[in-house]
Amino acid sequence: MQLLRVGFWMLPLQRWLTLLGAASLLVGLVFHPPANAPGSTLPPTFLGVGLMVMVPLLAGGVFLRMLSTSRALLLRPHARGRLLAGAVGILLLASSVWIFAYWAAFQQVPAKFRPPLEEYSLMLAMTLSLGTLCAVALFIASRSPMWTLLIILIWQAPGLLLHALGVEDATRLLGGPVSLAMSLLVWLVFGIWYLRARRIHASAWGHRQDSTPAMATTSVSQPATREQAMSRWLLANQSAPQLGLYCLLAALFVLGFQWIFAREVEAQTLHAIMFGTLAIVAVLTGAVGRTMAARSRALWLPAGRTRLQLYGWIERQSLLVALAIGVAVGLAATLVWWLGAPHPAMPLGYLLPALLAPGLCSVWLGLMQQHRRSLLDVLAMIAIAAGIFYGVVRPLFAGSAAARWDVLGAQLVLAALLREMARLRWRSADWRRAQRV
Amino acid sequence: MFTLDPHSGVPIYRQLLEQVRRLVASGQLKVGSELPSVRDLALAHAVNPMTISKAYSLLEAEGLLQRNRGRPMTVAARRRAIDSQASRLKQLAPQARQLVLSARQLELERKELHTLIDRLWESDND
């Protein structure tokens, strides 16, 4: 019971989504919008439910890990069993609700447009399989960045493999009894490991936030100027070019993987996938910004600046790192563009900025994470994701040559907005003490 | 009524033992007067109730206290013979020893110590 609450209500993010979703659902139910052509517009009910179940369905694995690390909790009778059962239960519930919404959405439509019954069961199976994969994958990925990278690699393999093997309609396959059986198997294996594991490790993602103020200038091996020491502290002893290099390597690794397995895929799809990946890599700048913001508290004393000055300095550092990552992404993108035969119809001159613009927005979004999060952050995240989708993935997928300058422009405006927000927050609010998850 | 110091080298139960003995011997705790319950005393001094109950049990075994069903422990009517002068003096022996030693350290004469004791005895009687 309580796990339900965790699943749907815990994070502010979740609350917003659930509320938005519920509101949308109500609108849909009450207003019965005319639905003559089922097509590209999503009826509000559908959207609403989608928002509600999105988080528990997709991110359940992360919560499971968070709950499983507390030793005191694990000492309760049947603790792990119940947590596991709760996770599966939530998955089942979320899937059922989703399918129900799907069915309800089509009730508006005259009978001949409605999909046959077996389609529902197919969708159910598909949702369950997807949910299972997400849950387990996120559980594993949340262990540390290394694991996340691994999961990203493994995640792409089956889809691309299937394409390579010439299986046409992968979704059919996913919805069939085969995949259901596979999901069951996955749960079984995972369940057995989970129940027997001696110790579940806490997520290593949030853990770069230690605040030991005096340490900033003294723990460096070569005493350097204050600026250098500070930037070294911020980046945890790595330099901007180094981070860029890591990103380049990671991106090339993932891309290479995709390349190898997806020879047979339609060029457009492949392009969409690869460039989409690159855009996501660019968004990693957000993570960098966030880390910097978190570690900056320790610099307040040694830095000897006003808040705005400190912010300006950190912003510069973040942009430096973003530049390094941007260069990496740009190089990778150019490579893909030249080697991808045939060339994507989209000109490189558009593609490169389109890839980097979300990254720019993310930098300031990350810096903004200094203080209490609000609806604004959620909206910004959605906006950035939409930017990637509409600006890069969709056009490539459709094979169009028309550059979406409007999307690009919107993103630049967003970046400027986020910058102002970040400055405001830094100036006015209290520094958050570093917390563990 | 009692002062218990958890930090002294003397265990808590023993402190309580000696204090009860002294109070009874001096007559401040008359026969039949009630002692605080184990729980109340333990909570008042923030000490383990088991140590209080240990002291009470020992006192009961000595015949000093009497357990009443459902009511707090009371001071028992004792036979005079148990509480001989010798045993009372024996209770005082450790402290007296300390006093003598301290006096010696301060290089006081025995007579001076006697004077001090007499003076204190007089002032306490007021």
Partner: protein, 293 residues
């Protein structure tokens, strides 16, 4: 290791990171005891608790709780155990009340009245997210979580270390109330010695992975004393009296801490050292220091 013992270990050895943390530990705690586990930082207290609860596996030897091996505690035993870890492992995004509700859902019996009363007495804000609470408040929440199902065995790792004196006193009083009823057993590790002196009936002193002393606190206090010896002549060589734990010489005076004390030994010691002996009170902290000297 009798059946009546709630906690029992035999020859427990635990190695980690290439070194031995626990080197052959034999312990037993019976029902109704309040055991204080004393030790320096790094002596192995937390490790001992981890092994007892089954979070870590012993490298050698045996550890049992309620007669069952620690690695495989049954669900029934788990329901009788409460644990308060040193670093609270609470999720900062949930509130205290949510944590309690989550914990309550695992147990068939949960004493809501008790938790409410304690939350009021200790002034714990249950409706704010854990991330916004101070360290002491978080410790209080962690303690509440362990008390709700009325466990027969309560294990606590440095439970009061983050609390101010008022909160510590409240905590101790509550602990005593719990211990007073129906023979519950409490084991807590602490380096705040004064708390242990108040509350514990038994003491285990852990020094570098071995048990330096184990037994009743009263007995420890009675058998360990400090003697101040004053001699006519200077003490030439360091003393070595039977049962001596610690000795400090300064000219004509010597301060000696002895274990195995009884009053009859006084005259013979005075004779042996040609001095006058004076008994000086010794707190548990002094004893602890002496054991580690």
């Amino acid at each position: 290791m009798t059946d009546a013992s709630v906690i029992a270990t035999r020859g427990l050895v635990k190695e980690a990171g290439g070194r031995q943390i626990l080197k052959g530990v034999d312990l037993a705690a019976a029902r109704g005891e309040v055991v204080g586990l004393l030790g320096k930082n790094g002596a192995g207290k937390s490790t001992l608790l981890d092994v007892l609860l089954g979070f870590a596996l012993p490298s050698a030897g045996d550890a049992r709780v309620f007669g069952e091996p620690s690695q495989n505690l049954s669900a029934a035993s788990k329901a009788r155990i409460g644990f308060v870890p040193q670093q609270d492992e609470l999720m900062s995004l949930m509130s205290g009340a949510q944590h309690l509700a989550l914990a309550a859902s695992f147990h068939t019996q949960w004493d809501h009245a008790l938790i409410e009363r304690l939350a009021r007495e200790w002034e714990v804000p249950l409706n704010r997210r854990i991330g916004t609470l101070s360290g002491g408040e978080r410790q209080k929440v962690a303690t509440l979580l362990a008390l709700g199902h009325r466990p027969e065995l309560l294990l606590m790792d440095e439970p009061a270390s983050g609390l101010d004196p008022v909160a510590r006193r409240q905590f101790m009083v509550t602990l005593l109330e719990i211990a007073a009823e129906t023979n519950r057993t409490i084991l807590f590790s602490s380096h705040i010695v004064s708390d242990i002196e108040r509350v514990a009936s038994h003491v285990w002193i852990l020094r570098e992975g071995e048990i330096a002393w184990q037994g009743e606190l009263d007995q420890l206090k009675e058998s360990t004393v400090r003697l101040l010896l004053r001699a006519e002549a200077e003490f030439a060589a360091p003393l070595s009296l039977p049962g001596q734990l610690h000795c400090e010489l300064q000219g004509r005076t010597a301060s000696v801490v002895l274990g195995d004390w009884s009053a009859e030994r006084l005259p013979e010691i005075e004779r042996a050292t040609a001095s006058r002996a004076e008994l000086v009170p010794l707190t548990l902290e002094d004893m602890f220091l002496a054991v580690h000297a």
